[in-house]
């Protein structure tokens, strides 16, 4: 419950403050969102599996976002452009999908 409230508070804060993202960080934004989604769904699934751990969640979120950003940066520097971030999106997407499927099994038993 607190988690949902915190999430909503963050959304409201983001809308209310309306920060401008510096142009240098803009390419990392979508990938950071995907990484954050992965962390959130992982956390929800862990909660439903009754193995949720605060520290694990925090660390997974931060490392996900950092590693994803690093890979995008590396891709930029190596000149492979979007391909490396495609890899990130695929891996995180698969994980999100698997976790959502697990959440679905928990909620609907199907």
């Amino acid at each position: 419950m607190i988690a949902v409230l915190a999430l909503l508070a963050g959304v409201v804060l983001g809308i209310y403050l309306d920060p401008t993202v510096p142009a240098a960080l803009q390419p990392y934004l979508p990938i950071a969102v995907v990484a954050a989604l992965d962390a959130v769904f992982g956390g929800v699934r862990a909660k439903l599996d009754r193995i949720f751990d605060d520290k694990q969640f925090v660390v997974s979120f931060i490392s996900n976002v950092l590693v994803a950003g690093l890979i995008v940066y590396l891709g930029d520097q190596l000149g492979v452009g979007g391909q490396l971030s495609t890899g990130v999106v695929v891996v995180l997407g698969v994980r999100i999908f698997g976790n959502v499927a697990a959440i679905r099994r928990h909620l609907f038993r199907a």
Binding site: I2, A3, A6, L7, L8, A9, G10, V11, V12, L13, G14, I15, D18, P19, V21, Q26, L29, P30, A32, V33, A36, A39, V40, G42, R45, A46, D49, R50, I51, F52, D53, D54, K55, Q56, F57, V58, V59, S60, F61, I62, V91, V94, R95, I96, F97, G98, N99, A102
Partner: protein, 315 residues
């Protein structure tokens, strides 16, 4: 990654590769490890437990913040993209209007030049010059002739999957216009225009993407190829290869192809050709039979001087 699952048969333990592991167990193995650790030793209570919880809440707020920011960013990007597009379209239209204005002005000036020249020249010379201009497409002409009308077929139902409506040869191609124009010339036409664009000896009919360009100006369906020429021109054109081809194409593909006689057509003058390599080597006063003679006595531009054609005919 984590150790092989206990359900596996002993002796045949392969370390699962990364993707297999990813598909089989998408949850961060850290959660299971943490749970196992908690089994062994009770969860930290008091200050440590609360601070971990607080940090998690802060991180969740950060995630929400991130979502909101990313959403706003994406939404904010959209209008700028369509704005850029609209701006480009407006620029194109503005430039086209400017070009039209300038060419109208050029036409007016050219007419004035022609009038002045007529006044300066003797009657027969002026008449000859006018004839040459008319013949080469630099002067407005009127007369009887034919109008060939080509229209794209009605658009077919779009492909429901790809949204592609450009399947099949249901459009007039630039080569059709080329063939029709060429056969009109061959049938004796003295002046040809496509959608009001007069053709000269250097005119181009080309395709650029989906558009057809006549002298670098886009023309669209319906295409009207207007030609002024002698009476039997229509019959000759009707028997020509392109007319035969277009009738066949029209029957098969659903284009429309019509030829009709027209009286008192007026074809505009073509725009002045831009000379890139040749330079006019004649004096402003065109002499009928070659300018080589009076070139020496006139301060004309110093070109190669090999052209012996009158100024009206220099292309």
């Amino acid at each position: 990654m984590s150790a092989p699952e206990p359900g596996q048969r002993p002796g045949r333990v392969y370390a699962p590769d990364f993707l297999t592991e990813l598909f089989r167990n998408p949850l961060d193995p850290g959660y299971a490890d943490a749970a196992a650790r908690r089994e062994r030793s009770p969860a930290p209570q008091g200050w440590r437990g609360t601070s971990a919880r607080a940090v998690a809440v802060v991180v969740l707020a950060a995630v929400g913040f991130l979502f909101a920011v990313a959403y706003r960013e994406t939404v904010a990007d959209e209008p700028s993209r369509s704005q850029a597009r609209a701006g480009l379209v407006a620029q194109i239209q503005q430039r086209e209007a400017e070009t039209d204005q300038l060419s109208v002005r050029a036409d007016r000036l050219r007419e004035e030049v022609g009038r002045q020249r007529d006044a300066a020249l003797s009657g027969s010379q002026a008449a000859r010059l006018r004839n040459l201009e008319a013949g080469t497409g630099l002067g407005r002409v009127r007369g009887d002739g034919v109008v060939v009308r080509l229209t794209d077929a009605a658009p077919k139902d779009e492909d429901a999957v790809t949204g592609d409506s450009e399947v099949g040869p249901d459009k007039v191609l630039y080569s059709d216009l080329q063939k029709v124009a060429n056969d009109l010339w061959a049938s004796g036409a003295e002046a040809v225009a496509i959608n009001g664009q007069r053709l000269t000896a250097t005119s181009t009919i080309r395709s650029a993407g989906a558009a057809i360009l006549v002298d670098f100006r886009p023309v669209t369906s319906p295409y009207e190829v207007t030609a002024i020429g002698p009476g039997p021109m229509r019959d000759r054109f009707e028997e020509s290869r392109s007319a035969y081809l277009m009738r066949r194409v029209a029957k098969i593909a659903g284009l429309s192809f019509q030829v009709r006689d027209a009286e008192d057509l007026t074809l505009p003058a073509a725009t002045e050709p831009r000379l890139r390599y040749a330079e006019p080597s004649v004096s402003p006063s065109p002499s009928p039979s070659g300018s080589g003679a009076d070139r020496s006595s006139s301060p004309g531009p110093t070109g190669s001087g090999t052209s012996s054609r009158p100024s009206g005919g220099v292309r």
